[in-house]
């Protein structure tokens, strides 16, 4: 069994909590020995509490449940923050008297959109230098930094994204570094603090980056200055993390054997890397080129970890078979290309091509404007695929927006589809969301109405915008 700081904590959390009644006996028994050193894996816990919701029934509506089913003239009922039931046309759902009933004729219901690539809060609006908190460009390996410590919850972009149907999102560090640091997953209910938005029990992610950016940033600052330098940098860091894990293993073993073991000094950088190697932290890797992604999948085999998702993955279509084989998702734009060499081979059919090969495809934004209309990004990819002979039904294409990003973030057991028992993160669209003209009419997060198109007083206004020319986009 691999013993690593984070696993240790889960096993032995109570040994730290000497004040906890249930643990005190054990502490007494071991009183001759120094208390065992363990590490709290969750020092910045979520304080998120959902908007209070009302039991809600939407009837006569077209439902894409996000896991491959489409119901025409269906009904959906959610209450107590959870999806309670879906019904086919003609079926009736028993609901309590206080239920809000919405006639969804001509409208569509989908799971809330999940963007697994956002820099809201770390590169907020206004984009002043004093707000530029997304890239710790001081060393190519900064696994020790956590995006959540940069997130400015007053970024007006959160509210705008909510109007686009985004109910959860991952905030990533930038891509200047080989290892950019930890990500944080948020519920998109703008509030006072990052912790107030933090998605409860979502695993951490770690940002890594291939290619041009680390080369460009560090080429004249001690390296890496080449792609081979990049790979050497990842490998050395993984090797250092393995060494660090062995030290903790030894401490663990010696302690259990009753020896007077001294805990290794915590190294925050290696601690996060160790979290990846033991599977607690998910890898989100910025990587454009097919050849580089393939090299990275070899590095992944070499050091026995899993890359969860390649981000941008502009050339994923070239190696969709290999991505499937290695169980790595690709988070992509519909059509961005050409702004740098590694984005030169972008094609419009990237997303449907990855899907058609049986690999995991995700639509992501990486943009404070793009995040507001990810449904249109999916619509473009869907129709471009169709014209190229990849006829993917809309009900499957919606997996790019909710289920697959939820899987990528490790929260699919909680959200990402309209299945009974899941968090009621739901969007009611006033039209087919694969249309330019469709808008999110209601956005529910955990069953609470977080946004209503027709009621501009429900639109979040950040502190920054309050008392300014426009208060939100409600002018």
């Amino acid at each position: 069994m691999k013993l690593t700081p984070t696993k240790l904590t889960l096993l032995l959390a109570c040994t730290m909590s000497l004040l906890t009644a249930g643990c005190s006996k054990q502490a007494d028994n071991d009183s001759a020995k120094a208390p065992k050193v363990t590490i709290d894996p969750n020092p910045y816990p979520s304080t998120y509490s959902p908007i209070e919701g009302q039991p809600t029934l939407i009837t006569n509506v077209t439902i894409l449940d996000g896991v491959g089913n489409r119901i025409e003239n269906g009904s959906i009922y959610f209450a107590d923050g959870k999806i309670q039931a879906l019904a086919e046309s003609g079926q009736t759902l028993e609901v309590p008297d206080e239920t809000a009933i919405i006639d969804g004729t001509g409208k569509w219901v989908t799971p809330g959109i999940i963007d697994n690539h956002s820099h809201l809060g770390v590169y907020p609006s206004p984009s002043t230098r004093s707000h530029s908190d997304g890239n710790e460009m001081t060393n190519p390996v900064t696994a020790q930094v956590w995006a959540e410590h940069s997130v400015w919850p007053q970024d007006p972009g959160f509210g705008r994204a909510l109007a686009g149907g985004v109910t959860s999102l991952q905030i990533l560090p930038g891509s200047a570094n080989l290892f950019g640091g930890r990500s944080v997953v948020l519920k998109n209910v703008p509030n006072r603090t990052m912790q107030d938005m933090k998605f409860p029990d979502a695993p951490y992610g770690m940002k890594m980056a291939c290619g041009e950016n680390p080369k460009r940033v560090y080429g004249q600052k001690g390296g890496p200055m080449t792609r081979m330098g990049n790979v050497a940098g990842y490998r050395q860091a993984w090797s250092d993390a393995q060494d660090y894990m062995r030290k903790w293993d030894k401490y663990e073993t010696d302690y259990e054997a009753g020896k007077d073991a001294k805990a290794p000094k915590r190294d925050l950088k290696l601690e996060t890397l160790a979290g990846v190697l033991n599977g607690d932290i998910r890898v989100h890797m910025h990587c454009y080129r097919a050849d580089e992604m393939t090299v990275m999948m070899d590095v992944m085999q070499e050091f026995d970890y899993q890359i969860g998702t390649f981000h941008h993955a502009v050339e994923a279509y070239k190696i969709a078979d290999k991505l499937k084989e290695n169980d790595v998702c690709s988070a992509m734009w519909a059509d961005w290309w050409g702004f740098k060499m590694e984005a030169y081979d972008g094609i419009r059919e990237n997303i449907p091509a990855v899907h058609a090969a049986g690999a995991c495809a995700i639509v992501h934004s990486d943009s404070d404007l793009g995040i507001q209309r990810l449904n249109q990004e999916a619509a473009k990819a869907w129709s471009d695929g169709k014209r190229a002979g990849l006829d993917i039904p809309m009900k499957d294409a919606w997996t790019w927006l909710s289920a697959n990003p939820a899987k990528s973030l490790g929260i699919f057991d909680k959200t990402g589809s309209l299945e009974k028992g899941k968090q009621a993160d739901v969007v009611l669209w006033n039209d087919n969301p694969f249309s330019t003209y469709a808008k999110a009419e209601h956005v529910y997060v955990d069953g609470g109405l977080a946004y209503s198109l027709s009621d501009s007083t429900s639109w979040p206004v950040s502190d920054f915008e309050l008392g300014q020319v426009g208060e939100g986009d409600n002018k």
Partner: protein, 446 residues
């Protein structure tokens, strides 16, 4: 001797192939003229020009008929403000002709001229045109000077692969006989009249506007012939003066970029002081707040209607309803500011329509309005008799993200619906669909 004759005939045939006569029938035709929208219209293309747009289906003899039933026909879209032909890859990839640093030829930047820098073989040209954009205003997007120099309008025919010729000289195109892709050079001048312009002028608008006034006053007052023999102490270089004289005369529109309402009011006041100058407002995030004044001053705008965030203190009033409110007040709105993805201008216009802009006005923002701004309304941007035969047949509503251009005609000729991107797609779709693929670089799809 016979051989020579054959060769001469072949050369004559390939050097200029007349566009055939084409009748596009049965489509829903958005003429963007007083003819409005014609259900089941007929568009006749002849000699590279629009010959007629008819409401009935009668097609004269000698026309190849293309059935557009159930489809939508529009003039080719115009990229309202791009750097097409000036940039292949923006970052870390060699010279980008869309930016210029300090050089002795100019003191204020007015003299620069992108017409010499257009590369019609740029992959962006084919990638863009097969999505229904057939011409574009193009200019520099970064200059270390007050002005961004003179922009040009280009058509996107590029260098054609002449499929009708078996001749080895496959790349011969009509533009090589002394012609270029430039439809109009010296088409407009750009200047930043907001924060970036202030940065260029010592860091304050207090300097920027004094500078702008002075620069134009100087151009007005300077002699028409500033020869090298005579001494010259101006803020502008001699060449700058010559170009700015055209701006002052109203021949070359001045594209002034500004976002905050106070800056836009300064733009209007500038236009008031220099009434001969043909001013166009660019970007204009808060333009809706000054919409009536803009309409009164007859200043059209080129905007990105999706920009709705306070990206800085000049943009606090950003809203998705900018385009609709400007239109409502009587301001002419053009949409489309990008380069690699100028093809998304139709989506931008669609989102403006989703936020209150009338649909036909959304189409006008991509066609007739930019054509008028660029002084080319008789050439492009509408299906009027005598205009260039730049025509697109769409699968449906062009502003819908799920619809696409199916046939594109530039100068009356159907372009091949092919680009570097479609070739990459076909290569890898073919490779992924085979069980035992050949090495990728041997994979070609014809």
């Amino acid at each position: 001797m016979n051989k020579l004759i054959v060769l001469l005939v072949a050369l004559t045939m390939t050097s200029y192939v007349h566009a055939e006569n084409i009748a596009i029938v049965g489509g829903k035709v958005h003429t963007m003229t007083s003819q409005g929208v014609i259900e089941n219209g007929t568009v006749l293309l002849s000699n590279g020009r629009i010959n007629a747009v008819l409401a009935n289906g009668d097609v004269p003899d000698g026309y190849r008929v293309i059935d557009a039933s159930g489809k939508v026909v529009t003039p080719g879209f115009i990229g309202a403000l791009t750097s097409l032909g000036l940039v292949e890859v923006s970052s870390s990839s060699g010279v980008v002709d869309a930016s210029v640093e300090i050089t002795p030829i100019s003191k204020t930047g007015a003299a620069f001229d992108v017409q010499y820098a257009i590369n019609p073989d740029s992959s962006l040209i084919a990638i863009t045109r097969l999505e229904g954009i057939t011409s574009a205003a193009t200019t520099m997007n970064r200059s270390d000077y007050l002005f961004g120099g003179q922009g040009a309008v280009i058509n996107l025919e590029g260098h054609r692969l002449d499929g009708e010729s078996a001749n080895a000289n496959k790349y011969k195109s009509e533009y090589e006989s002394g012609q270029t892709p430039v439809l109009k050079s010296g088409a407009f001048m750009t200047v930043d009249a907001g924060s970036d312009g202030a940065e260029m002028s010592g860091g304050s608008r207090a300097s920027l506007w004094v500078m702008l006034d002075k620069v134009f006053e100087e151009a007005k007052q300077a002699s028409d012939n500033l020869s090298p023999e005579k001494s010259w102490y101006g803020i502008n270089s001699r060449l700058d003066v010559a170009v700015l004289k055209r701006v002052v005369a109203g021949d070359m529109p001045l594209f002034m970029r500004a976002d905050r309402a106070a800056d836009i009011r300064q733009v209007i006041a500038f236009k008031d002081r220099h009434s001969s100058i043909n001013v166009v407002l660019v970007h204009g995030v808060e333009a809706w707040r000054v919409a009536k004044e803009l309409a009164g001053a007859n200043i059209p705008v080129i905007i990105d209607p999706e920009y709705n965030l306070p990206g800085g203190f000049d943009q606090m009033g950003a809203t998705l309803t900018n385009a609709a409110r400007l239109h409502e007040a009587g301001v002419e709105v053009a949409i489309g500011m990008d380069t690699h993805n100028i093809r998304l201008a139709a989506q931008h216009a669609g989102n403006a329509v989703a936020n209150g802009l009338p649909h036909e006005t959304g189409l006008a923002s991509l066609t007739s309005v930019p054509a008028k701004i660029l002084g080319l309304e008789k050439e492009v941007g509408s299906l009027r008799q005598g205009a260039r035969a730049d025509v697109v047949i769409w699968s449906g509503d062009p502003l819908e993200v799920t619809e696409a251009a199916e046939s594109v005609f530039i100068g009356g000729k159907a372009i091949k619906m092919e680009s570097r991107q479609t070739k990459l797609r076909d290569r890898y779709m073919s490779l992924q669909q085979k069980k035992h693929a050949t090495p990728s670089q041997y994979e070609r799809v014809e």
